[in-house]
Symmetry: C2
Subunit: 142 residues, 2 copies
């Protein structure tokens, strides 16, 4: 087994047995982490930071469509979770650099796999969507 998913078997086993007290549980604290990592802008920010340290304004430019507020909010959350390191240089004009922590890098790499898959397979996804539109209630079952 050359893959790097140590918890896969555990997760699968628990999922099939429905006895897990993990992410599927409403009260599980890791739910918050999941939502932070998969939030609209966090995914893009993390993947970008995988390419190296960046300043606030650079991120603002590179992450198309993000507002200052949302970017600041996203970065703040990622810093609080220990995924991103914020380094503020006390100079004028202000200069702040953001980079991934080792933990953040691990998470970002996994997100990048998803992002890359989407980009690589977008044509197939579009195709599937088109196929669906054609087969409007064509098959039944009993």
């Amino acid at each position: 087994m050359p893959t790097d998913t140590p918890g896969a078997s555990l997760r699968a086993a628990l999922a099939e047995q429905n006895q897990g007290a993990h992410l599927m549980a409403a009260a599980c604290p890791s739910r918050a982490v999941l939502s932070h990592l998969t939030s609209r802008w966090a995914v893009l920010v993390l993947v970008l930071l995988l390419g190296g340290t960046r300043r606030f304004s650079a991120l603002r430019r590179e992450v198309g469509g993000v507002s200052e507020k949302m970017l600041a909010q996203t970065l703040d959350a990622l810093c609080s979770d220990g995924f991103v390191l914020r380094q503020a240089y006390l100079v004028i004009p202000p200069k702040v650099e953001y980079s991934l922590t080792p933990l953040g890098r691990e998470a970002a790499e996994r997100l990048a796999v998803l992002v890359d898959w989407i980009e690589d397979n977008y044509p197939r996804i579009e195709q599937a969507r088109a196929d669906l539109a054609r087969s409007v209630s064509t098959e039944q079952a009993a």
Copy 2:
């Protein structure tokens, strides 16, 4: 390079050069796919379905905290995107089964890697958060 991320090099290259017209672009249609896949309940539903076909009520029970409305809405979106197959049996009482399409399975597997990572590393994340709380503005730079 033994990993299964064919687009990684492309993504990294584009990210570093900031010349990409892909997910980082505000208007990129794949943004919608990303948001569907990473939405609060879709992640959990997809990972659960990785464990096999499930009925609506089973999902409702297993995905802790989801409301009927949100589950229906989530499943609807995943079906429209071609990630989930919905099979309705015309019997009384009604019976509807949801399962992953090949496309959905690929996406779900990548999400599962992330979910598994979070569960496996939650202690480290908590630890990092605790460490942060201690080092409140301890280091500067110039």
